[in-house]
Symmetry: D3
Subunit: 224 residues, 6 copies
């Protein structure tokens, strides 16, 4: 199985133990899967964007600050994976394709201003013809409303791509940026290549095979 | 003045004389402007995408075929500009920023799958804090409906960014891909950085200064 | 066995099915051979050279236009080979050597102005110490005169390198560029490293093992 | 005058206004000086090193985490300098030399594990034959003992390179890492190329010309 | 076992047979070891440094002359190792890490001015978590005094890192550059990562496994 | 005037003073000319080729050894030219074009196996549309026979390209490699782009302007 795992930048926010992710990836590789990892930027990204804004940087350069931090996170994960991972972080999809062709885990951060790391992950899933794009985030999956605003929000174990798109478009919280899953570019890639998406809590990564089999909490988003 | 000129790939479709564009750019530079050029792919791009599709390539790889052709067009223009242009075509916004910092015209094609060269041009306009993003296309500007379907379509000499967005979203022709100006990613960049856009016919490029002053046929899109 | 296959640019001229070449390469790899592929430019190269000439480009830059198109063809083949091929097209022999050292099929276009892709293929055959340099072209092999001018031209199933050199030097058609096999630089490499050359029709690539064994129409060129 | 300015990573520790440094560099350039800037990593570097250590990374990889953060700081400064700076952060002295040859300010972070950014700055000063290597730090200059431990510590306005070396070697605080100026590699470069060093408070950077003329608080370290 | 072998530049001084080193590396790889090789510059490096000095080059540029020659030696060894080695010489530790991640022998020369190839070898040993850093030199191991000055010098088969450091620091000959083993930067890396060092004659490389087992003349330097 | 100067590798053979070349280039640049320099490999190249041969390297790899040495010579010259030269040696014509577009002197060695540095120089002259390709060698110009074999050989102050071609083809000494000026590839480039060639003694480089004006010993080769 080919898996692309997109890890929220929040995972890197504190200085605590980060071994869950490399351990999970190692487990997946040892069971014969091919894995690509995409890391977000988190609070360090926001810190540098804030400094950049105070210096009058344009939006593209601000995005680049965040992209560099996401690559720093990617590099940390690649070094922790040691001999399992390609020893460099790609800076574009073309570099990703080059590195990926050599058989190792490739860990990547952002590619380009104007798009989220979710869009990067969707592109990577498309280019590798992945079985699943796994979005490892801070909630348990896709809800019918924002679980952080509405305590009654219901987890949806199975959603169609079209339904997810509708939820994302109507949700106020999306506009406010508090409940980000897939930005429009990521959504467009997911749609055009009919990529299956699995949304789950980053803490569940070490049981990902169970989650995929359906015996763990998560949402699966499928074309039909 | 800083100008980013996005040239439709159709400009490169036949083997005819291509000197209009380099001549126009040379004129602008000689009058003290800084210029970046973004080239589309045109029919050669479509030919390679079609071959790729027959070979079963995934969507990301198909997009890369088109991107390579757009870079070929960019390289042709750069070589024609000779000593005015940076002697290499950037393959990402980061490379664009590096080359641009050296004071020459930079000619670029596509950057990445999943986005149009219009989005590339918007990113470049944002990163250079350009005065105008010029969309040099096959029609005369922005119309209230598709001029190729509706002979009564009216050219709009001045539109707000919000109005353009509405026109693009409601136009059937956009969905059919026959009347492309700005894809959603390009639109988002134009909005967030309040970039002024000038839409005009590629044949008018050699009178671009007039067009900007208002004495030529075109549409100007402004934030307010 | 190590094989370098040079494919005529004409192979890419129409938009038709291009699966013969990737299928042939896959077959060879699956039977334990190591394969490098070198692609020519074809009519798209000629189109861009023609545009460049109308723009007054110098000869070196015109050659570069053709080289870029040959790399585009190489990239198409690499993407079609998928996980069998190194995911990037080398732009020099040094890059070829780097990519080749990693065990995959490497697909390359032109390297440098002033030399044909046949010269590239000869260099690649030399650097990889290939068993055969296969020239996959539009005729069936080496003839005693140009088969397209002379209907009586006789196919030579076995030629020495010295004989081939004499045929190429005396042939008027070589000067006219209509019957190209090996330019002088390619010839020099073939001679100095005593490379065995097999000339055959590109349509026969899927039976290349038979052809090498002698049970297919082709010409074999050997040092003595 | 050619100046290499090494800025302590602490400068980037909080999210506050960072305009002092770009403003100072702009002032120097406008007065005809050539400037290179070397940035340290600060607390973000320490955060990532700490995460890396919890993941069992080797010392070289841990150093690389810090180097990446120092490059992030360098990129922030380069973007803020806008058209004054080369638009990319070099990753080795060889890249620095390439970028520097193009006449712009070059901003760099760390180069390689096993050495401090002070050593990077000394190398850069050597390669550019700089008039001064300016160490912009959190104290006012070189003291006869550690000013943060000993309130009686006396600022030394003029020191010989040999004296500085003796102070650094005998100081307990150096071993504890709390009063770092020049590590042994930086010291060796400074000695062999007889580089003049100016140590001053980072807050004084906008009056650097005065400081160099002797009318500002600082220490000047000279070969004899 | 993972081995980093640092070969003295003197090995490349004459035009004689150089097959000992590639043969030894091949033997080690065939017995299941992973090997990195670091080559010095030798007399060709000194020739170019001397030419550079006559041209008034700065010390950093002079070091680069030597580094380029050491890379030339590395490239020679890589080409001789053929399909065992990664087909390119890394120019920094980051490139080394990238190339190393692909499973081949990596051959490297110098990385950066201001440090010896012994420091490069120590960094490589640290980054690969090598079992031994092998210093293949022109003497038989570590002596209690310089064997070329003192015929009574005694070979020390086992030394602690601390003892070696003391010997290197007190030896007059070190200052004179005639008996180089580890410069201060190399020593620092060896100490901080507790790397085991084996010093032996370059002529003994083809019996390195015996030497490691203790049945060959050499010195082993260990942390305690 | 645009000049490409090809300097024989013999210039770098001994460790003596090498200041003639950088001084001559500086003089040309100060008088408003644009200059590119191409350096040969010389005896160090032959030493490494000889070592490579004893190691069984293929011809392409042997050529690469020589190319690396010619780049080392190029780097020495670039460093000596200091702020006049682009701070990196290009490794292909495409890199040369990129570096050249930035207005500095570019110093280059070999590009690719299978061709001489004279061919490199011809390519560079073609790509820069140079006024003269200057071949700075160990004899005074073009002779009617080899001046080192025949003491009666007559210097030809003016030759047509066609005459030079005939001399080179009929000369026995060319085959023996003792009297090399232009190999067939270089000759082909010179012909197709009608490049004017000036052959003179490397010792005359500091009076090159006089030589071009006709008041110094040299041969000028012109298309008609």
């Amino acid at each position: 199985m080919k898996l692309v795992i997109k890890v929220t930048g929040k995972y890197f926010d504190d200085e605590g133990d980060k071994s869950l992710l490399p351990r999970a990836v190692r487990g997946l590789v040892e069971r014969g899967n091919r894995v690509a990892v995409v890391t977000g930027g988190g609070s360090t990204a926001r810190k540098y964007i804030s400094m950049g804004r105070s210096l009058g940087l344009n939006e593209a350069s601000l995005d680049l600050m965040g992209i560099w931090v996401s690559r720093l996170n990617a590099f940390l994960v690649a070094m922790a994976l040691n001999d399992l991972a390609y020893g460099r972080v790609p800076e574009s999809l073309e570099q990703f394709i080059e590195y990926w062709s050599q058989g190792k885990v490739v860990v990547t951060g952002g590619f380009q201003p104007g798009q989220s790391t979710a869009a990067v992950a969707a592109l990577v899933a498309e280019a590798t013809v992945a079985d699943y794009l796994v979005i490892a985030t801070t909630v348990e999956g896709v809800y019918d409303s924002d679980p952080r605003l509405n305590p009654e929000a219901k987890l949806l174990p199975r959603v169609t791509t079209a339904e997810l798109k509708r939820i994302l478009e109507t949700s106020q919280s999306v506009k406010a940026g508090t409940y980000e899953l897939l930005d429009p570019m990521a959504m467009k890639i997911v749609e055009r290549s009919r990529i299956r998406v699995l949304v789950t809590n980053v803490n569940r990564l070490d049981r990902l095979t169970d989650v995929i089999k359906g015996s763990g909490i998560a949402s699966i988003v499928e074309p039909v």
